[in-house]
């Protein structure tokens, strides 16, 4: 959190701090919409403006509007880089049984793969792997961490 460094008017600073902290809490809960993580905290990029991952709701593998937008950016990127192959890793949060989570991760990875294929990316360029709940990106046991861990991540393989 960054504070206003202009301390000439103490009252103003106190006021500003109140607003900032209010904003910061609002933003935190705003990072999850209907159980799906919408923030940027854990996101890496395949290229400038091309996020590497999409997020899912608990027990779900359906793609949100935001996820589809991300995957379309990935498809555009992959069309431009014809020699590039990728692996899509599917992940689940820790709040399920291990075996079901392996299946769920597989389903999530394939949901992303299928969407890329509908945008003209050959299935031959995409492999999938499920890690279930085995590789959390955020090790905390919190609603935020679980939402960040329910993800599929597109990784360059060459």
């Amino acid at each position: 959190m960054t504070f206003n460094k202009n301390l000439k008017n103490i009252l103003l600073v106190v006021f500003a701090t109140l607003i900032l902290s209010a904003c910061s809490t609002a933003k935190k809960s705003g990072d999850i919409e209907g159980d799906v993580y919408t923030g940027k905290e854990t996101v890496k990029y395949l290229a400038s403006g091309v996020p590497d991952r999409v997020f899912f709701a608990t027990n779900k593998s359906s793609l949100t509007t935001a996820s589809r937008a991300t995957l379309r950016k990935q498809a555009t990127f992959l069309r431009k880089n014809k020699k590039l192959n990728v692996t899509i890793e599917g992940h689940a949060d820790e709040r399920g049984t291990r075996e079901y989570n392996l299946a769920l991760g597989e389903r999530r990875a394939n949901a992303a793969k299928d969407y890329l294929m509908t945008y003209g990316i050959s299935g031959k360029r995409i492999t999938t792997i499920s890690y279930g709940k085995e590789k959390p990106v955020n090790p905390a046991s919190s609603t935020l961490a679980w939402s960040q861990n329910r993800r599929s991540v597109t990784v360059k393989v060459n």
Partner: protein, 445 residues
């Protein structure tokens, strides 16, 4: 490793079951455990010393293991040795029943051993102190290095005589040993005796390994390995260390278990994101598809007669338990309670299915009849799953994870056991963090 199988010569000295008064009822939680005195085994003075085994202490060490086994059941209360009223050798010949009764013991175990010519000879007797009678006696010969197993076999015989059920002490547990921070766990296959002794690691931790399960008929293991980053079901012979991938599937195979005759593996195979249940015959290599549904079908487990399969599916929307014939026909949903269900495991007795239940952010281990009726939740926790049955169907072992802090700190994974009565919940001591336990059959049958 061949010597692992006991060169075991068992002969019954006598069985005197008539007029025995003591009997332990294990069908409900036992709040009044049976007071039992386990006398140290008398070490015959003709015994020779060995390099790696302290023969003089062997009698004490064997009786300590027996006591620990009994204590772990919650059904017995082993009495303190300071109160014992007779020397081991004399008690073994003929206990003074009235004196032992004075220290409130109801049963007495006595024995003696001899180490000579590279062999360990052991005999023991179980005495009913109330009826003043010998209940059972047994003698056997084995190699001295097997002395811990001797203690477990004696424990099994006594447990069987007093409860009328098969024992489960001469068994092992295979599990996944865990180390390292939560987001970069190193996982290895590990095996230990049921009481936590003799831990051995079967893989090095180079690749992720999950869900090892024993073949109920021999020393084979099936498990999931991410070897070369290809998650596949493997077979491992723990006698020879030989391992092989099961089948030739073009995608992830997981959730393996053996059929009750040990001849097939049942597992899930994920094709284009969809997981269905398959079997593979280990001799003929014939693969059969058992389910064909657009939902996730996983965690299959055969009934002990091999005729049915319990499994986990989200075909209704969320994870529920189903039972079908072993050819995949006649699929019936068996769970309709509030919450979602996973990991059904058929009891070796055939009468119950153990499961994991998730409801309102809490995890339960429970049992139900095979038609889904009579659900009983045995234990509730922040996170626990993956029950595995003791070979006599009386105890479940499972794993638990703790809630982690914001950096993953405070996370642990541990093994626990609980009686199907819901009593006697115990933590199993493992050398590292541990998960995915699977209980072996009795090693000596």
């Amino acid at each position: 490793m061949k010597k692992f199988f006991l060169a075991l010569t068992i002969y019954f000295i006598s069985i005197n079951s008539l007029f025995a008064l003591i009997k332990v009822d294990i069908t409900r939680g036992n709040l009044d455990p049976l007071p039992i005195a386990v006398s140290p085994l008398h070490v015959d003075i003709q015994s020779v010393e060995l390099k790696d085994i302290k023969v003089k202490e062997l009698g004490n060490n064997i009786s300590s293991i027996i006591e620990k086994n009994f204590k772990s059941t919650g059904l017995f209360n082993p009495l303190k040795k300071e109160a014992f009223v007779q020397k081991p050798d004399i008690a073994h010949l003929k206990p003074r029943f009235e004196d032992w009764r004075l220290i409130k013991a109801q049963a007495l175990v006595t024995g003696k051993l001899l180490v000579k010519d590279g062999k360990l000879k052991v005999e023991f007797r179980l005495w009913d102190l109330t009826a003043a009678k010998e209940m059972t006696a047994l003698a056997f010969t084995t190699t001295p290095s097997n002395w811990r197993r001797v203690a477990h076999i004696i424990s099994d015989k006594i447990y069987e005589r007093l409860t009328g059920e098969r024992g489960y002490f001469d068994t092992r547990i295979i599990y996944v040993s865990e180390s390292g921070p939560k987001s970069e766990r190193v996982k290895k296959l590990a095996i230990m005796d049921q009481d936590g002794a003799n831990t051995k690691y079967l893989t090095l931790g180079n690749e992720l390994v999950l869900t090892p399960r024993f073949n109920p008929t021999n020393q084979m293991i099936t498990y999931l390995s991410y070897f070369r980053n290809m998650p596949r079901v493997y077979l491992l012979d723990i006698e020879t260390g030989r391992q092989e991938v099961v089948g030739n599937f073009p995608g992830m195979t997981f959730a393996p278990r053996f059929s009750p005759d040990g001849k097939k593996i049942i597992m899930s195979f994920a094709e284009d994101g969809n997981s269905d249940i398959y079997t593979m015959d280990l001799e003929t290599r014939v693969v059969e598809r058992i389910t064909n549904h657009s939902s996730i079908d996983t965690s299959p487990s055969f009934s002990p007669d091999g005729k049915y399969i319990a499994f986990n599916s989200d075909r209704s929307g969320l994870q529920q338990l189903y039972v079908m014939r072993s050819d995949g026909s006649n699929v019936k949903r068996i769970t309709f309670g509030k919450g979602i269900y996973g990991t059904p495991v058929w009891s070796p007795r055939g009468d119950l299915i153990a499961f994991t239940k998730m409801r309102k952010g809490r995890f339960y281990i429970g049992v139900m009849r095979t038609d889904g009726s009579g659900e009983r939740l045995l234990t509730e926790n922040y996170y626990q799953e993956a029950p595995s049955w003791s070979p006599n169907g009386r105890v479940l072992v499972f794993y638990r994870e703790t809630k982690a802090g914001s950096k993953g700190e405070g996370f642990s994974a541990t093994l626990w056991s609980i009686d199907i009565t819901g009593y006697n919940e115990r933590k199993l001591m493992t050398k590292t963090d541990a998960s995915d336990p699977s209980w072996s059959s009795l090693l000596s049958k």
